[in-house]
Symmetry: C2
Subunit: 341 residues, 2 copies
């Protein structure tokens, strides 16, 4: 199900740019970061696991840049910054959710412990903007560089707000569909929207186009997350997603919020009995899916995903983007939501 997201030459370009950033740093901490990037194993022996990593933030940033007539090179340092921010959040979320695997490898905290993993994430966060600063020294207009850093920081704050609410919801069963969707828009939509916004910024296109593509990206991110959560529950999971252990942490997903809000009294009570347990076990997941199926939550989830995807594609109508750029963005949207084009 996982296809290469971006053209091979762009994939090589972003990977080279990311490797060039790390080539400047020889300190021991960077070996742990290169493990996370998929370039080293846990004994610091070079591997190339990263060919399987999506690098979807770069893909969207490049696609937005080209759709508004820019050259991908202009977006390169921003794309690199986005990938580093994504890795910062990945490392921390793996600690927060207790995930032992990502992309079929042990997570950083599982290998080096949570203290080192918190620190590895922090280092990714601190490193992320430096590629944009370096671009400013090589000729990127200073106001563009500052604006890019600001957009990234605002997006990171939104992700943090989303994670905060997601963690609060773990302990609650009064999560409505609307509040769930708002949370996901912050947690996973903010950075994807920012990827498109930065692509537009790098090409100096209009703020209206930037806003339109940001909203497109947010919708796609939410649709993609809903789709992946459904695949975990209904048995088609792939791509190293961590929702299985996430569900054991009592994280709520859309179908669960749907049944708590719209289910029958007996469906709500059955689900509540499971979530009021102090700790969930794997067998509870089977029971949860049975309850969700009695409420036909799968159809609801599918329809919601489709609605978000279609709204995202509709948003492209009013925007000043090239036909080729539009079809690239459509292709990425379908890929991220696991739809056949």
């Amino acid at each position: 199900m996982v296809l290469p997201l971006i053209l091979p030459e762009q994939r090589g370009t972003i990977e080279d740019a990311l490797r060039a950033i790390f080539a400047e740093h020889s300190l021991p901490l960077f070996r742990l970061m290169e493990y996370q990037m998929g370039w080293l194993d846990e004994h610091s022996v070079p591997i190339d696991h990263s060919v399987e990593y999506p690098r979807q933030y770069s893909a969207l940033c490049f696609a937005a840049c080209q759709a508004v007539g820019g050259q991908p090179e202009a977006a390169l340092s921003m794309a690199a910054a986005l990938e580093l921010v994504d890795n910062f959040f990945q490392v921390h979320i793996d600690v927060q959710e207790g995930s032992q695997e990502r992309y079929n490898r042990p997570t950083v905290w599982w290998v080096w412990g949570p203290g080192q993993a918190i620190n590895v994430g922090d280092a990714f966060h601190a490193l992320a903007r430096l590629s944009i600063m370096a671009s400013a020294e090589r000729g990127m207009p200073l106001d563009t560089a500052l604006k890019a850093v600001q957009m990234l920081d605002v997006a990171c704050l939104r992700v943090c707000e989303g994670i905060h609410v997601d963690l609060v919801y773990q302990e609650r069963v009064d999560v409505t569909v609307d509040s769930y969707l708002r949370m996901v828009r912050e947690k996973v939509g903010a950075l994807m929207g920012c990827a498109l916004e930065l692509g537009v910024l790098s090409a100096s296109a209009s703020p209206e186009t930037a806003r339109g593509l940001r909203e497109f990206g947010e919708d796609i991110a939410v649709a993609s997350r809903i789709q992946e959560d459904a695949q975990v529950l209904w048995g088609e999971a792939t791509i190293g997603e961590t929702m299985g252990s996430g569900l054991l942490n009592k994280k709520k997903t859309l179908p669960v919020a749907y049944v708590f809000e719209e289910g029958s009294i007996s469906q709500k009570r059955a689900l509540g009995n499971i979530y009021f347990k102090r700790v969930l076990e794997a067998s509870d997941l089977v029971k949860i899916v049975e309850i969700l199926d009695t409420a036909d939550a799968r159809t609801y989830v599918h329809n919601t995903m489709k609605r978000l995807l279609n709204r995202a594609l509709d948003r492209l109508n009013g925007l000043d983007i090239s036909p080729g750029g539009r079809s690239d963005l459509e292709r990425i949207a379908q890929h991220l939501t696991h739809q056949d084009p």
Copy 2:
């Protein structure tokens, strides 16, 4: 022993600037951050615990700015960014070291759990630079703003490298005095050096002065940490430092590194037997101090601290700073190392 570090009007200025940043954000996550700032209790009821917090990064930033002839207002957004970065690291270090208290209050992770605390720290990190961006929109030269953000990111990376090594040393007994001092210079010196560097940058003074004051700040930070660690071991601890629980985590300090490197065979063996235990208990700390005393490690630590403090004060000789600014910097240096002026 804890005195107000900066003139009352400057203390009010930085506190007002920090509160203004938070006034723009009403999201739930920010209540946890305001708890950490000392402005709310754990039920989000306003308190003012922050009067007891040192805010030493602001103090140093303002002092450096004024010492090179600048106006403190020019340094204000940088001082605010430094305090936010300091709080980011505090929240994460409390998780990493398992510290239950800071400044006589429960730490964020102790109240809300490690997952939320990791996220609160991340939000401080993302928020930190936005005050500098806002200054750029209000007239700070763009290259100054970008340079400030870059200096902050470089300092954060150095702190991360220091934390990485500190965590590695927890599991080792072959920590030499030199490697310990190098680690502390990264972990606590980088941000304090950066505070002075940013103060100089805000006043557009020369890079040579910035470098000189950064080195002054790094020496002071290392001397201050050594002094505080000694106070924990030899019973004069104050100011919410977390070294007690830190030592139980097998963190190494200067006197321990000294005995492992320079002690007699029997002293090394006795200390090694304690540190090879899987978990230390409070009673082990008593034994550790006894061994350190047989090697007169306290005198060694005191002399090392004095040497660093004197080197720092000597660095001020060659720098182009005002006599008043110099005496402020000397006063802060003596305060941070708990020396009578």
